[in-house]
Symmetry: C2
Subunit: 316 residues, 2 copies
């Protein structure tokens, strides 16, 4: 991030017609955008929303009540404009692209072996990176994939430790037996793949949409594009990057905190506070795109307000 | 509220292509809007943002570091388009009207007598009610008035009790001495006006913009227009209505929770949770208009999403 630009943006904030600091988190978002865009008047002329979809061999362990066909059906729904993410992108001004990653070829069941090969992981990383529009001023990330709350809990347990059960929630709607199956499958996966380095964890326990999200985050960093992550699954997807070097996520905000219980625990482990807390648990990038609307408001204030000098307002 | 319409809207939410309940607070907002508009497909074709401004005799007690002229200067800034509220209304699609209430004639100092006469209070109530556009689909409320965080703390202490100091914060930027002067002035005001009924409290301790906000809330109720309140000062303005009959605020949401410490305490006393928590403390209706953007997203999902039947998605 460009700290000189951040300081210039902070000076502008303090000159605007409001008590200093009174726009709170909106001011922080404006300074963050300034620093990463390298522009003390940061802008959102083009916002890109990317949604990556993948399927998961771990579904063989009965971790999700829905069939894997739902992933492709939801991708078709995204393409037809009928999903929540379509409506949210329209209202908040994001250009949506949906990238289905080999849905007819799920990853392998991680209780039996690595979920992906290194080549598959690298391919998904590259497809994620290639999807980023270098002209975008901000990028929101999201995902769809039946079974991927199990993948996310497995990544978190492997990278941050703790009780497996503390990372597991109901996902799209597991009952108590389903939650027990998730915990059991993850425990067997962790036993099968001990002592992995961060990126090896992504290979052994992750999935294609997780790898693609990592690739998009890295490509955005290279292009100085600020990123808004979505909820539990999207944040867990980049946890291997955080574990490798936490500075890799410095250009990312977290759009919302999910009701999926692992998310609050993960944000705490990463030292992050989400922008919104709306009891959501949908995925698709929905919380990230809602937070994009907040970022638009933050920049409108930063760029559009009069200064005290302009407006002739008396000081204290 | 129309509970039949709320139930119809809830049935629609459960038919949409998402796990039931997964849009969390967005679903609650959609049902709230449906019930108050009496329309199971609630809409925001016209959003009105009202900002009321007043001046306060309590400033004679040194409760605010800024001169009262700042109120009129900020009204001029609103009219010129240079304030935060102007930018937020543009991004979130609200029509802004600013109503300055006799700024050259501040209320009386409540440590010496009642802040307003009954006639002045009624006049401000009526001007607030008259400002509501009966064609609006949603109304956001806000205020501007040097000294009005003292007014707000006084109203809360009179209506809900507790230690005066617990209702008092730094407002636009009081130092420790300024905070002590606020607490002392309020304590003397409470001693001067003991045992008042809720609406008498508004007369004795309130101000014109507080009365106008009450009038606007009541007029919106009569026209079935849902309302979004702003932060501490706006919520404290309607506390006399809450104390008179808490159902009078059933058609109101609270847009954000302010860092002004009295607000969290007031929301707790009223049993409310704000939509946003952004460490803001600006007023002007800024938090309410930000929350309007969230309501737009909530209704876009409610009205625009495909149902499971439309999209041909498999069940669990």
């Amino acid at each position: 991030a460009d700290e000189g630009t951040r300081a210039a943006a902070a000076r502008r904030q303090d000159s605007l017609t409001k008590p200093p600091g009174s726009l709170g988190r909106l001011e922080e978002i404006a300074l963050f955008m300034a620093a990463w865009q390298g522009n003390d008047r940061p802008r959102i002329a083009k916002a890109q929303a990317l949604v990556f979809a993948g399927n998961h061999g771990i579904c063989a362990q009965g971790v999700n009540p829905f069939p894997q066909e739902v992933t492709a059906q939801m991708v078709a729904n995204f393409e037809a404009g009928g999903a929540a993410i379509n409506q949210l992108c329209r209202v908040n001004g994001a250009d949506l692209s949906v990238i289905a990653l080999d849905l007819d070829r799920p990853t392998a069941d991680f209780t039996a072996g690595p979920a992906m090969t290194e080549a598959e992981t690298l391919d998904a990383l590259n497809r994620g990176a290639a999807a980023v529009d270098p002209q975008a001023n901000i990028l929101t990330l999201g995902e769809m994939g039946i079974g991927n709350s199990t993948i996310s809990a497995a990544l978190c347990a492997a990278l941050f430790g703790g009780e497996v059960a503390d990372w597991v929630g109901r996902g799209t709607g597991s009952d108590d037996d389903g939650v027990r199956r998730k915990i059991d499958a993850i425990a067997r996966g962790l036993a099968r793949h001990p002592g992995l380095a961060p990126i090896e964890t992504l290979v052994a326990l992750g999935g294609r949409e997780q790898a693609a999200i990592c690739g998009a985050v890295l490509a955005a960093r290279a292009a100085r594009i600020p990123v808004i992550l979505d909820g539990f699954i999207c944040t867990a997807a980049v946890a291997p990057l955080f574990a490798a070097d936490r500075r890799l996520l410095d250009h990312c905000l977290v759009g919302h905190v999910s009701v999926e219980p692992g998310h609050r625990k993960l944000l705490s482990a990463m030292g992050r506070t989400a922008i919104l807390d709306f009891d959501m648990r949908l995925g698709e990038g929905s919380g990230a795109v809602l937070a994009l609307g907040i970022a638009r408001s933050a920049l409108a204030c930063h760029n559009g307000m009069a200064t005290f000098a302009d407006a002739g307002i008396s000081g204290a």
